[in-house]
């Protein structure tokens, strides 16, 4: 024993002080985690005071406790949503049976894989974003970035808690591996493709938190339904934090749009580049890229795994309680398959289409975000409208990955048409270079970069000119 009082260092509601096995495991893991943070986190800001929200308990007040903290001292807590008395499995073949408090042996490997895949995305995003602090458009945004980072770190803790507590030696090894894979590393990349995409500028960061973290939201919603109660409770608590990440993305892109449209209105004859803002078409291209890349994260349309996970009660549908039939056994799912160069309507057993069911919810939710941006345009009396790319567009996974599709209509395109237009649809090297050229830090209180509007209000009722990060 190192003598560290872990219940002090690691705020928790899982009786860490009373669980010797878990203590021992986390003692071994925690130094490695801190080392990982020191290497792969936002390293250059580790000594700065940042106005962060820390979860110290799961109560209404406790999960949003604000104050200045240095990131390495952030108290990465372990919190599960409160246990519901008599909770039962809400879907699949075990529907109605008591929820599992221990891992059922039969499903041990599947569960571990689900948890590891989810867990792997958490440190990945920290790695993807680790250098953005150097080019933050304001202290407000800098603070939001770090808030997202420490919470992704906490989500990793939450998943590692499950691995350590419920999966024995294998779980500890997998927890260790989570710290060794690296986003974008040629030798040991992160598991999912999108989490290996570089996130080198703030427009990408906002798109990432808007679209990729929204995938996280739906994955967590599906896992929150799990019949394995500790996973369900963990994910339910994580969802409270995930909401903030999407807020950062949605309002972030919104503020970029607001700035550009305002400039266009004020100087209709000028190019917004003259004022150091980002043209509308580049914003749309970034939306196209990140939305399509994140749509891939749900996997193949028809999937044996998704059927297995559903039937075994491990991963449900988002908002399962709204469904009429929780067995989903005799129902079919109709979708447009793309085989041999042709789109054809197909019906498959619903359970095998659970990836697609979750993707449907995701696409609908994305559209709401687009509508929000278009309301900004309406408010500014601008005719500009943004669109969500068609779900077939630019896919790398699933049936549509073998074809080329129009971003607006989803119609099948031949290769030459695609090549002729791809520069209008996806960010070009030139677009990226331009956006990158704008990435200069703005660290003065209350100041905002040329390409982004100030937010409507600050964090925790502080003003937009509050010193969210003390850089001095």
């Amino acid at each position: 024993m190192t003598g560290i009082d872990y219940s002090q260092k690691i705020p928790n509601n899982v009786d860490l002080a009373g669980d010797k096995r878990l203590q021992r495991a986390l003692e071994a893991w925690q130094p490695n985690y801190l080392e990982w943070w020191a290497q792969m986190g936002p390293t250059d800001f580790n000594t700065k005071d940042i106005y962060l929200r820390t979860a110290i308990n799961v109560g209404a007040e406790g999960w949003a406790h604000f104050g200045y903290v240095k990131m390495p001292d952030y108290r990465w807590g372990i919190f599960l949503a409160p246990q519901e008395e008599g909770r039962t499995v809400g879907f699949g073949d075990h529907f109605g049976q008591p929820a599992w408090q221990q891992v059922p042996g039969e499903y041990r490997n599947w569960l571990r894989r689900l948890i590891v895949t989810q867990a792997d995305t958490e440190p990945a995003s920290v790695e993807q974003q680790r250098l953005l602090g150097h080019t933050a458009p304001s202290l407000y945004d800098l603070r939001n970035l770090f808030q997202v980072n420490v919470e992704e770190g906490r989500h990793l803790w939450a998943m590692v808690y499950l691995l350590h507590t419920y999966f024995g030696k294998d779980g500890r090894e997998e927890a260790e591996e989570l710290l060794h894979r690296r986003s974008g590393n040629a030798d040991h990349p992160r598991i999912l493709g999108t989490f290996n995409e570089p996130c080198e500028d703030w427009l990408s960061f906002f798109c990432f938190t808007m679209f990729t973290d929204r995938d996280g939201k739906f994955q967590l919603l599906a896992l929150a339904e799990s019949g394995f109660d500790p996973l369900s409770r963990t994910c339910r608590f994580m969802l409270t934090e995930e909401a903030h990440h999407m807020f950062v993305g949605q309002t972030g892109v919104g503020r970029v749009i607001e700035k550009t449209l305002t400039l266009m209105k004020e100087h209709p004859e000028r190019d917004v580049r003259d004022f150091g803002a980002i043209p509308i078409e580049i914003i749309q291209k970034y939306i196209n890229f990140w939305a399509s890349s994140s749509t891939d994260l749900y996997g193949a349309e028809i999937s044996s795994n998704s059927a297995n996970f559903f039937r075994s009660g491990l991963k449900g549908r988002a908002y399962e309680e709204k469904q009429a039939d929780h067995l989903a056994l005799d129902q079919a799912y109709a979708f447009e398959n793309f085989v041999d160069g042709r789109i054809s309507k197909e019906e498959v057993p619903l359970r095998n289409a659970m990836n697609e069911v979750l993707r449907d919810e995701y696409v609908r939710d994305n559209q709401k975000g687009i509508d929000y941006w278009n309301r900004i345009a309406e408010r500014l009396n601008s005719p500009v409208r943004f669109t969500l790319p068609h779900r077939r567009f630019n896919r790398k996974i699933g049936c549509y990955s073998s074809g080329r599709f129009h971003p607006a209509t989803g119609e099948l395109l031949d290769e030459s048409t695609w090549q002729a237009h791809v520069e209008q649809w996806l960010p070009t090297a030139k677009d990226k270079a331009y956006v990158k050229s704008l990435m200069k830090p703005v660290y003065e209180k209350g100041q905002y970069a040329s390409w982004i509007a100030a937010p409507a209000k600050g964090i925790d009722d502080k003003g937009v000119d509050y010193e969210y990060v003390k850089l001095a």
Partner: protein, 549 residues
């Protein structure tokens, strides 16, 4: 799940690298590379998609073809790198939907053929100085890993994700069907408890542990992947002597086929569908190449290579495309001198090409041993059972020898009968036949020149030797009796009786495939309405009959 969901399509065994749909074969000096890049939409029949480099018979026919061509067309090759063309996945094994929608007979033949192909890789390594490197650039599961362990060395990508695995038991309720369980114990010699653990964890084992358990020989990071593969391939190639620089091209084996016959140049199949039997005749030409140099010059036109390629094609065709045929009436014909010359040329002292041909003839004879049809050698007028021809008779379940001086039969012993073509059990067909009376082997081998029916009978080479008066009736009765038995009982009985004597990895592979896998394939726990194989990929959860047998 007895019947196919889709009409079966005849399997074709002739292909060529420029027609491959699923593999890319390339050469760089003495290293060949076989890249598996299975075309999902090009299954051998309708009804399944070959996702994630999963394979069906069409994919394996190409692999067998490539292995064969490397040996004959590219004797300069000393190492073959087998790798995958997909990202993060090497090969997902045999396609599950294909298996599920296949008849039992097709499944069994598919497994048998793929097993033979894996053994061909090992045969090339043992006898042709062609070493195989499995360069697993992603996860190798099920048959994917079984392909890898048929190679000499396995290099696995170390990306903290790629694993080798046998998901058959945990996911499908069946066994790895391509020698997988035998090779981890007997070839790679893993500890038994490690084998047990490995065979029940669907996601498999990766990285350092895979090396520690000897599931793979090494791991290499992705950034150094190409370099490492090259290095390993170089080492393997350098460990082998140079065989030759110029190969012999293999053209396509063709035949004239109609409902009643399949006629090749040296081999003929004539069907008697009412009787469910086929006459299989292999005829040596009047004369062949005089020496090894002439054989090499004739190349793929040399009658030996051609005749046995035809025989191989005929056997594969019978297995897959003629499931109702139950009995083969086998005849060897042609001048005894031609057969004897052949054996002289392939039995040693020749060149790389005659040696390669010998190993090929050995493989075809093994294919005959392993064919689940009853085999009668019909030694009647003008048949010739000399040397390799005699081996064909010895491969049969019974030998009917016509004892009629006016219609002579020719027998003869050559070096070919002295273990030139060992069976799967590692010994010769004569040794296997006379397991209890080894002196009899020497007695047969001591006979010189050609001899007729009565001597053959005395030497123990005839099962029955009816005279001219009894012959027709005896043969008719033997045929009618045989075809009336349960085909399943015949398959099982013959497989039991053909491989007397020592057990080898090869006999274990086929024996266990028949005994265990094919049993499990029939059981409700696999293929019943709620069996694991039936349920896989469907919304349903398998339900097991919990009684152990």
């Amino acid at each position: 799940m007895a019947a196919t969901a889709h009409p079966s399509v005849p399997v074709v065994f002739q292909t060529h690298p420029n027609r491959y749909k699923h593999w890319k074969l390339s050469f760089d000096g003495d290293v060949a590379t076989l890249v598996m890049n299975v075309n999902p939409g090009e299954g051998q029949r309708e009804g399944y998609e070959l996702k994630l480099n999963s394979y069906d018979i069409g994919v394996d026919v190409e692999l067998a073809d490539a292995t064969q061509r490397i040996r004959f067309e590219h004797p300069e090759v000393r190492c073959v790198v087998v790798t995958g063309g997909l990202d993060r996945v090497f090969c997902a094994g045999a396609n599950i939907v294909m298996l599920r929608t296949s008849t039992h007979g097709f499944k069994v033949n598919f497994c048998k053929y793929t097993n033979e192909t894996r053994l061909y890789l090992e045969d090339a390594s043992a006898n042709s100085g062609v070493k195989f490197l499995a360069a697993l650039n992603g996860t190798a599961s099920g048959g994917g890993y079984e392909l890898a362990i048929a190679c000499d060395k396995i290099l696995l990508a170390d990306d903290r994700n790629s694993a080798v695995s046998y998901p058959e038991v945990p996911l499908l309720g069946v066994l790895p069907g391509t020698g997988g369980l035998t090779r981890i114990t007997d070839k790679r010699k893993l500890r038994r408890d490690h084998c047990d653990a490995f065979s029940t964890v669907a996601e498999g084992i990766k990285g350092k542990r895979a090396v520690e358990w000897n599931l793979v020989d090494g791991i290499a990071s992705l950034s150094k992947w190409n370099e490492s593969v090259k290095e390993w391939a170089r080492k393997l190639a350098d460990s082998q002597p140079v065989r030759a620089t110029k190969g012999v091209e293999l053209d396509e084996i063709r035949c004239e086929a109609n409902a009643d016959a399949r006629l090749y140049k040296y081999v003929a199949l004539k069907f008697d569908r009412a009787q469910r039997c086929v006459e299989l005749t292999i005829t040596a030409p009047e004369s062949g190449a005089k020496d090894a140099a002439e054989a090499l010059a004739q190349g793929n036109a040399w009658w030996v290579l051609r005749a046995f390629r035809e025989l191989d094609d005929a056997l594969c065709h019978l297995r897959f495309n003629e499931p109702e045929i139950t009995l083969l009436l086998v005849r060897a014909k042609g001048p005894a001198a031609t057969w004897a010359k052949m054996d002289e040329l392939v039995s040693g002292g020749g060149n790389w090409f005659t040696t390669e041909t010998r190993h090929f003839v050995k493989r075809v004879l093994k294919r005959l041993d392993n064919t689940a049809k009853s085999l009668y050698a019909v030694c009647d007028e003008s048949t010739t059972w000399v040397g390799t021809g005699l081996e064909i008779a010895l491969a049969c379940d019974r030998t009917y020898v016509l004892d009629d001086e006016e219609r002579p039969v020719t027998f003869g012993v050559t070096p070919a009968n002295k273990g030139l073509f060992p069976m799967a059990n590692g010994i010769s067909r004569l040794q296997t036949r006379f397991l209890g009376t080894p002196a009899k082997v020497d007695e047969v081998l001591a006979s010189s020149g050609t001899f007729g029916a009565s001597e053959a009978n005395e030497l123990g080479l005839a099962t029955y030797s009816p005279d001219a008066i009894d012959w027709d009736d005896e043969l008719r009765l033997a045929i009618e009796e045989r075809t009336a038995f349960s085909p399943d009982a015949m398959t099982g009985m013959e497989a039991n009786l053909r491989f007397a004597g020592p057990e080898t990895m090869e006999t274990k592979i086929f024996g266990r495939l028949s005994a265990w896998q094919n049993w499990i394939f029939q059981r409700p726990n696999a293929v019943g309405e709620r069996g694991a194989l039936t349920c896989y990929g469907t919304p349903n959860r398998p339900e097991f009959d919990v009684l152990r047998t």
